[in-house]
């Protein structure tokens, strides 16, 4: 994607002024007609106002918006603001579909309807899920209907970060699942985590994937994996609910999907965010900020030498929670490593979703930062 095929803008002004400001910035920097418009916004803004202003001033053919507690614009992590990216519709097509918050049994019919036309054709898929959608059956449905031949990137939330977690799809404001099928663009994705596997590998011996529960690890109640490593400090660990500091890493090919542990249940099961099944092997993971920074530099530098385009970041709220203020440095480092040829926008989610060509699978990861390159 050439630099003049898209434009990005950001505003941190209050209420309606923010949408007006980004619209003016886009208008002054992008002369083509807008085929598709992304808007990421923090909970401080009313989606109806954003939609009305953007429709009125920019008149995009299609518009898609996502609310998130934190956003990324170039080298800045944003706590309050609106980020907009618009693209021309030439040579690229976008098809959107959405599902309002619904019980999981309706996911199947939604996906059948949404992907009826494009089945078996080469495309990329960008998916964002609200807190009411369970990603595990959703991704199973995707595999069932689309096979493994497409590229998927996206993210979702497990809880609400204000009274609602809104999404905008053209003229609708919803809380559910949003898909954008992109044809005509080369999209690749990359995960950056900085996690180190600790100790002996374990095996999940009993799990309930549909309920996101790990019941037993190494034939013992799953919680014992933490008891084993924390010994006398375990009580303190459990009382302070520090599970997020040491997520589980499930082996996926050569890499690990980082699984956030939300809490422990009375029977010793662990409630998680991620795709888990019996016989999966893994480790307790430890995030090393230095390693993360090395990964960013070493993995991004070779990619950017000859390329240009747009990078959409799906940041990890878990990673942000662990490294705290270093998140700002990480965002700066990502932009610095990508250089001027790439424009960067993004949002933070509870988990990211990504298809892997190596393992021919779709993973849910709650600890890594996902970078999707649109070139």
């Amino acid at each position: 994607m050439e630099k003049d095929d898209f434009a990005i803008a950001f505003s941190k002004r209050k209420s309606e002024e923010a949408a007006k400001e980004v619209s003016l910035k886009i208008k002054s920097s992008f002369s083509k007609s807008i085929g598709f418009l992304f808007v990421f916004f923090t909970p401080h803004y009313n989606p109806s106002n954003i939609l009305a202003t953007l429709n009125l001033t920019l008149k995009p053919e299609k518009i898609l918006g996502m609310q998130s507690p934190f956003l990324v614009f170039e080298d800045t992590l944003i706590q309050e603001g609106i980020v907009v990216c618009c693209m021309s519709g030439q040579d690229v097509s976008f098809e959107e579909s959405f599902m309002e918050e619904n019980p999981s049994k309706e996911i199947e019919s939604f996906l059948r309807l949404a992907f009826r036309k494009i089945r078996k054709k080469n495309f990329s898929l960008l998916s964002f899920l609200g807190p009411g959608i369970n990603p595990v059956p959703y991704l199973s449905g995707l595999r069932l209907f689309l096979g493994e031949i497409f590229t998927l990137a996206g993210g979702g939330f497990t809880k609400k970060y204000s009274s609602n977690t809104w999404q905008i799809v053209n003229n609708d404001i919803i809380e559910g699942a949003v898909n954008i099928i992109v044809k005509g663009l080369d999209t690749t994705s990359l995960s950056l985590g900085g996690y180190l596997p600790l100790g002996k590998p374990f095996v999940i011996t009993k799990a309930a994937p549909a309920r996101n529960l790990v019941i037993e690890i190494n034939n013992e109640p799953a919680i014992n994996i933490y008891r084993k490593y924390l010994e006398e400090k375990f009580e303190q660990f459990q009382d302070n609910k520090l599970f997020s500091l040491y997520p589980l890493g499930i082996k996926n090919g050569e890499k690990f999907d980082v699984i956030r542990v939300l809490d422990s249940l009375a029977d010793g099961s662990l409630a998680c965010v991620g795709n888990l099944k019996e016989k999966d092997t893994g480790h307790i993971m430890f995030l090393d900020t230095g390693l993360l920074q090395n990964q960013i530099e070493s993995q991004l530098s070779p990619l950017v030498a000859k390329n240009q385009g747009l990078v959409i970041i799906v940041g990890s709220l878990l990673q942000k929670e662990i490294i705290k203020d270093n998140s700002y440095t990480v965002v700066k480092l990502i932009k610095k490593s990508l250089g001027k040829n790439f424009s960067v926008i993004g949002m933070y989610c509870d988990y990211s979703m990504r298809s892997s060509r190596e393992t021919n699978s779709i993973g849910i990861d709650s600890g890594n930062t996902l970078l999707t390159f649109w070139q």
């Binding site: 600790l198 100790g199 002996k200 084993k228 490593y229 924390l230 010994e231 400090k233 303190q236 660990f237 009382d239 302070n240 609910k241 520090l242 500091l245 040491y246 307790i284 430890f286 705290k324």
Partner: protein, 486 residues
């Protein structure tokens, strides 16, 4: 090999081959055993390394958790400090109790690490602020406080071992803190927080932060109370001042009406008196001068007395008329430029018989010429009045000093005597109508008490100043100013 088989041929080739195979198998087994032993050793070594790594992992996780908890604790402390700071900044200027309590919102409660917060009025247990408490939970709290709220009077925060907390826990409210919001007048409200967000039990820092907030709110409530009482006092004072001012204005108006009536009365009476007095004066003078024929001696003496008293009465009536004219603004000033030094000399000449009659020493300190703006006739009366008074109230052989000095824009004339002088109290009243200062000779020295009153009015009509300095038994100095005409 062929040589070996040839050598062993007599024993039968098959047997030999068998033994060789056995031998080779034994050798292979020995080699395998060695390999197994080596691999077992290696496996044990690797297991030891893995176990060692596992131990190291334990150490890493434990020490990392400790560091992170420590960091979390510091961050939590900092957050609480920030909370206190922002609460102070947002509430320091609030002068309304309800508005102050509205500052305790969900953000504040969460910053204290609790999910729920409640503020109840101490007397009525009426709900003032509620963040997250269910109606049933509030009922539990109210029921408990109804009988046990007096315990709050004893300390700044309810002790953790108190029966109150046990009762609340039984009602489903765990991890609760209760503290009074106190002012000097007593407890204003009760602040309750409950349900910790992250930790399992209340930490010392959480308890301290809650206590600081309660104490701060108590101080703010006390400030508001003081402000309100000050406001009431101020309001009362303002009301009283207004009432008094109204009364004074009313009195002033009444005085003005009375004063005008008095002036009108004096003016009309003086007018009415002057005509017959002029006639009386004319006839008494003519009679005393025996123009209508010789009079018996006794009758003539009495007529002379009548003539003298008619003169005095004429003086009084004229002075009263002048005062009332000045007061009513009817007196027209005829301002011209005149040499004050010359005028003083003329007045001294006019009064010199009296000065000489009392053997008074006169000292003049006058410029050669000093032109001032004045109504010559009126200032002449001022000088006559003051110098005449000095003559009257200075004992024989005393001294009178008349000075005139030029200032920047004005000429100050002073008339000093070495007379009886006046008390401070009398000095303040000396320009009032009919007032006569007390001194040993005042009964003997005749006067009406109107002269200086007229003098003051004349000077004030000139928009100038007149004042007096006096000391008993040392003397009196009168000063007045006039504008210089350059």
């Amino acid at each position: 090999m062929e040589k070996i088989f040839f050598f062993l041929e007599p024993l039968g080739g098959t047997i030999v081959l068998f033994f060789i195979t056995i031998l080779m198998l034994v050798m292979h087994i020995v080699r395998k055993n060695k390999a197994i032993l080596f691999l077992t050793k290696e496996r044990n070594h690797l297991n030891a390394i893995i176990n060692d790594l596992d131990q190291q992992a334990k150490l890493i996780i434990k020490s990392d958790m400790e560091v992170k908890l420590y960091q979390q604790e510091i961050e939590s402390e900092l957050n609480k400090l920030t909370l206190v700071e922002s609460l102070i900044l947002s509430s320091i200027h609030i002068l309304d109790k309800d508005k102050l309590l509205l500052q305790i919102n969900e953000k504040v409660i969460n910053s204290l690490d609790f999910r729920k917060g409640l503020i109840l009025d101490f007397k009525t247990l009426e709900e003032k602020i509620n963040v997250g408490f269910a109606a049933s939970e509030i009922e539990v709290i109210k029921n408990m406080l109804q009988y046990k709220k007096d315990i709050l009077k004893e300390s700044l925060i309810v002790n953790q071992d108190s029966e109150i907390y046990k009762q609340l826990a039984a009602g489903g409210l765990k991890n609760t803190l209760i503290a009074p919001l106190k002012t000097q007048e007593g407890i204003y409200a009760i602040f309750i927080v409950s349900e910790l967000i992250a930790s399992a039990e209340i930490k010392k820092s959480q308890r301290e932060a809650f206590l600081i907030i309660c104490m701060y709110l108590g101080q703010c409530l006390e400030n508001i109370r003081l402000f309100e009482s000050l406001y009431v006092v101020k309001d009362d004072l303002e009301r009283k001042i207004k009432e008094r001012t109204n009364e004074l204005v009313k009195s002033l108006r009444e005085i003005e009406v009375i004063s005008k009536a008095k002036s009108d009365f004096i003016s009309s009476v003086s007018h009415e008196l002057r005509t017959p007095l002029t006639s009386v004066k004319g006839f008494s003078s003519l009679l005393a001068e025996e123009r209508f024929g010789k009079l018996p001696q006794e009758a003539r003496q009495r007529l002379i007395k009548i003539d003298e008293n008619v003169n005095k009465l004429m003086d009084i009536v004229n002075t009263l008329l002048d005062i009332s004219r000045i007061e009513s603004g009817k007196m027209e000033l005829k301002i011209s430029t005149f040499d004050i030094a010359k005028l003083i000399k003329e007045v001294i000449d006019f009064l010199s018989p009296q000065i000489e009659g009392k053997n008074l020493q006169l000292s003049l300190s006058l410029p050669e010429k000093l032109n001032v703006f004045m109504d010559k006739n009126l200032i002449e009366r001022v000088l006559i009045n003051i110098i005449n008074n000095a003559i009257k109230f200075t004992p024989e052989k005393g001294k009178i000093t008349v000075k005139c000095e030029k200032g920047l824009n004005e000429a100050t004339t002073s008339i000093a005597d070495t007379g009886y002088g006046m008390s401070k109290e009398d000095s303040g009243k000396i320009f009032q109508e009919f007032f006569r200062a007390a001194n040993p000779e005042s009964n003997k020295i005749k006067g009406t008490g109107l002269g200086l009153s007229l003098v003051k009015r004349i000077i004030e009509t000139h928009k100038e100043k007149i004042w007096v300095e006096s000391e008993i038994n040392k003397g009196t100095i009168f000063y007045f100013t006039l504008k210089c005409a350059n």
